[in-house]
C-alpha cells in the first residue's frame, strides 16, 4: 500500500524563485572562488593529476607471488580455477626443477575481461600465491588477446612497491628479506 508523502509547503519567498536563485548562485560562486584560490581545500580528487589512493585490500589486478629465487610460488593446484565463478583462469601444471617443490605452473593465464574481481581465487589459494593487492585498477589494452595475462605479466612486480612488513613480498628477488630467505632455502 502506497504511502502518501506530503510535499513541503513553500514559503512566499521560495515561491518567488529569484531569492533562491541568488542563494544558489552564492553557493556556486563560493565553490568557484574556492577552487580558484584555495583548490587544496576542495573535497574532490584532482584525477588524473593526483593519483587515487587505493587500499591494499581492494580487489585489483592479480599478481603471482614469487619465491626467493624468482620462481612462481604457485604450485598449480588449480584451486583458484576451481573456485573462479567466471572460469577465467587457465592453468597447466608441470614438474618443478626444485625437488622440494615438485609442481609448478607452466602456464597460468587469467582473462581479465572475463574476471569479475570477486577475489575467490586469492581466498582459495592454499599457498598464498595469488593476490589481488596490486592496486592496479585501470586496465587498458588495444586488443582482447592482451587482456589474457600470463605468468610473465602476473609476476612482473617489484617488492619495493609493497610495504616492508609484507614479508612474503619482500622475500622475492629485490626484496629486503631476499638474501635471508635465499640462505634459508639453500640457494645462492
Amino acid at each position: 500500500m502506497a504511502r502518501t508523502v506530503p510535499r513541503p509547503e513553500m514559503t512566499l519567498a521560495e515561491k518567488a524563485y529569484v531569492p533562491e536563485i541568488v542563494k544558489g548562485l552564492k553557493v556556486t560562486m563560493g565553490h568557484f572562488l574556492r577552487g580558484l584560490f584555495t583548490p587544496e581545500t576542495l573535497p574532490v580528487q584532482s584525477y588524473p593529476e593526483t593519483p587515487s589512493v587505493i587500499p591494499r585490500n581492494y580487489r585489483a589486478k592479480h599478481r603471482l607471488m614469487k619465491r626467493p629465487d624468482g620462481e612462481p610460488r604457485c604450485v598449480a593446484c588449480m584451486m583458484c580455477s576451481t573456485a573462479c565463478p567466471a572460469n577465467c583462469i587457465t592453468i597447466q601444471a608441470g614438474e618443478s626443477a626444485d625437488d622440494r617443490i615438485e609442481k609448478k605452473p607452466v602456464k597460468f593465464e587469467i582473462d581479465l575481461l572475463v574476471c569479475v574481481f570477486c577475489g575467490l581465487c586469492a581466498e582459495a589459494c592454499p599457498v598464498d600465491a595469488i593476490r589481488m593487492d596490486t592496486r592496479i585498477v585501470a586496465l587498458a589494452a588495444d586488443s582482447r588477446e592482451k587482456f589474457k595475462v600470463g605468468l610473465k605479466d602476473l609476476m612482473s612486480w617489484e617488492p619495493k612497491d609493497y610495504p616492508d612488513n609484507d614479508t612474503q613480498s619482500q622475500k622475492a628477488p629485490g626484496g629486503l628479506l631476499n638474501a635471508e630467505a635465499k640462505k634459508q632455502w639453500g640457494i645462492s
Binding site: 610460488r73 604450485v75 592454499p126
Partner: protein, 434 residues
C-alpha cells in the same frame, strides 16, 4: 629354602647332559611319560594348575586341549624364548643354566600333542643361550633322546633353534609364528587362533620357556604337589627376574602368592632395596606401576596383582628408589614401544611415536601445558584398537606413570619458561612451506 621346580639346577653345570642326568634329569623319559596317553598327560597338566609363564597366564592344560590332534596336519610346538620385555631376563638365564630341562619339557609337551617338529624361537641377542641350546641339542641327539623313534617308543621329535633378529613384537605368539615362517614379525588377525591354524596353517602350540621347564617336576612329583606350592588359582612356583634398585638383582624362584616385599627384602633373595623404595613395576615394563605403599600390600600371584589393577605378566620386577625420575623412566619406555611397534596397525604405529615425541619434548624442556592430557588422550585412543596388545602395553605405563607421579611430570612441563604460551605461533600460515 622353598621347593624349586624350575631353577633347582642353577649353578650346578647342568648344561652338560651327564651332569643333568646325575641331577635326576630326563627321568621322565621312561614309563613315567611313555605309559601316559596324550589325554592323561593333558589332564595331568590341567590339574597341576600350571599357567603360561610368558605373561598372559593362560592355563597351560586348557591351551593344550585346544590343539586338535587328528586334523591330518602336523602339530607344531614353538617355544617362545623371544624374551624382550624390559625387565625380563629369566628365560635367558634358564636357557643358559639348564637347557636340557627345556628339552625335557618340550619332549613332554611334544608327547602330549603329537608334535613331530618343534622350534625354539630365541631372541637374536641371546647368542650365548643359543649356543648352549645347540650344544645341549647335539648331546641329546647323540644320546638318542631326540630324533626318530625315541627310545623305541615310535615317537619322533626334532627340535630346532630359530634365532630371532631383534624385534620385541615377535614375543606375541602370532607375530612369532609369522617370524618363524619367514615373514615380518607382525601379529596376525585372530581368529583363527594358533592352536587351530598357526605355523604353516597347522595346529601350533606356543609355550614359554619357563612353562615347559616346569613340566619335568610336575611329572615327577605329581600335579597335586605342584598345585599345592602356590595359591588355589595360581599353582606352583614362578621365576621372577628382579632388576633395578635392589641389593642383589637376579633370577629368583618363589611360590605363587609370595608377598612382593618378601621377594625384594628376604636375605635369601634380593636382600633389600637400595635407598628408599619409590615404586615397583611388578610384571615387566608394560604392567602398571605400583607405588611403595601398594607394593607393600601386593602378593605375587595373578589374582592379587589384578586386584591392584596391575599384572604379574612375565614376572619382571623392577624396583626403583626415590632418587629416580619418573619422567625419564616413562620416556625410556615410550621410546621403547615407539621403536618396537611393528608398524602394522595405525593407532599403534603412529600413536606410540606421537606420544614418545611429546614426552621427548617435555624431557627436553619444551613441554607445554596440556601435553600430559594430550598424552593421556593418545594413550586412551591407541589402546584396545589394535590387533595385538603392544599399544596397550604402552598405554598402561603412560596412564599409570602420569597418574601416580603427576607432580613430577608437571614440574618437567613447567621447566619450559614458555609452557603456557599458545600452541601455534600467530604468524603461522598453513602451507607456508610452499
Amino acid at each position: 629354602m622353598a621347593t624349586l621346580t624350575v631353577t633347582q639346577n642353577f649353578g650346578k653345570g647342568a648344561c652338560d647332559l651327564g651332569v643333568y642326568r646325575s641331577l635326576g634329569g630326563y627321568a621322565s623319559l621312561g614309563p613315567r611319560l611313555f605309559d601316559l596317553s596324550q589325554f592323561e598327560l593333558i589332564d595331568l597338566v590341567s590339574r597341576s594348575g600350571l599357567r603360561g609363564r610368558g605373561g598372559a597366564g593362560f592355563p597351560t592344560g586348557m591351551k593344550w586341549s585346544f590343539v586338535p590332534r587328528n586334523s591330518g596336519k602336523p602339530v607344531y610346538l614353538v617355544v617362545n624364548a623371544d624374551e624382550g620385555e624390559p625387565g625380563t631376563f629369566k628365560d635367558h638365564v634358564l636357557m643358559l643354566e639348564d637347557p636340557h630341562r627345556l628339552i625335557e619339557g618340550m619332549l613332554i609337551c611334544g608327547w602330549a600333542l603329537g608334535v613331530r617338529t618343534a622350534y625354539i624361537y630365541v631372541r637374536g641377542e641371546f647368542l650365548p643361550a643359543i649356543e648352549a641350546l645347540n650344544r645341549a641339542l647335539k648331546q641329546a641327539y647323540d644320546a638318542g633322546i631326540l630324533g626318530e623313534n625315541i627310545q623305541g617308543t615310535g615317537y619322533s621329535l626334532d627340535i630346532y633353534v630359530h634365532r630371532g633378529a631383534g624385534a620385541y613384537i615377535c614375543g606375541e605368539e602370532t607375530a612369532l609364528i609369522n617370524s618363524l615362517e619367514g615373514y615380518k614379525g607382525q601379529p596376525r588377525l585372530k581368529p583363527p587362533f594358533p592352536a587351530v591354524s598357526g605355523a604353516w596353517a597347522s595346529p601350533t602350540c606356543v609355550n614359554n620357556v619357563e612353562t615347559l621347564m616346569a613340566l619335568p617336576w610336575i611329572l615327577e612329583n605329581g600335579p597335586a604337589a605342584y598345585q599345592a606350592l602356590g595359591t588355589p588359582k595360581s599353582g606352583g612356583t614362578k621365576v621372577f627376574s628382579v632388576s633395578g634398585d635392589v641389593k642383589r638383582p637376579g633370577v629368583y624362584e618363589v611360590p605363587m602368592g609370595t608377598p612382593l616385599m618378601e621377594l625384594l627384602e628376604s636375605k635369601d633373595l634380593c636382600q633389600g632395596i637400595v635407598g628408599e623404595l619409590k615404586g615397583v613395576i611388578p610384571g615387566g615394563s608394560s604392567s602398571p606401576v605400583l607405588l611403595a605403599e601398594e607394593a607393600r600390600k601386593a602378593n605375587l600371584d595373578y589374582e592379587a596383582l589384578a586386584a591392584l589393577k596391575t599384572m604379574l605378566g612375565s614376572g619382571a620386577v623392577i624396583a626403583f628408589n626415590t632418587t629416580r625420575n619418573a619422567v625419564g623412566m616413562l620416556a625410556s619406555l615410550t621410546r621403547f614401544y615407539a621403536h618396537e611397534s611393528c608398524g602394522q596397525c595405525t593407532p599403534c604405529r603412529e600413536g606410540t611415536g606421537y606420544a614418545d615425541r611429546i614426552l621427548k619434548s617435555v624431557v627436553a624442556g619444551k613441554g607445554r601445558d596440556g601435553d600430559l592430557e594430550h598424552m593421556l588422550d593418545l594413550a586412551a585412543n591407541f589402546s584396545y584398537t589394535t590387533i595385538c596388545p603392544l599399544a596397550i602395553a604402552d598405554a598402561w605405563p603412560i596412564e599409570n606413570f602420569i597418574g601416580k607421579f603427576r607432580p613430577e611430570f608437571e614440574k618437567a612441563v613447567s621447566a619450559n619458561p614458555g609452557h603456557a604460551s599458545p600452541r601455534m605461533d600467530d604468524d603461522f600460515r598453513p602451507g607456508a612451506f610452499w
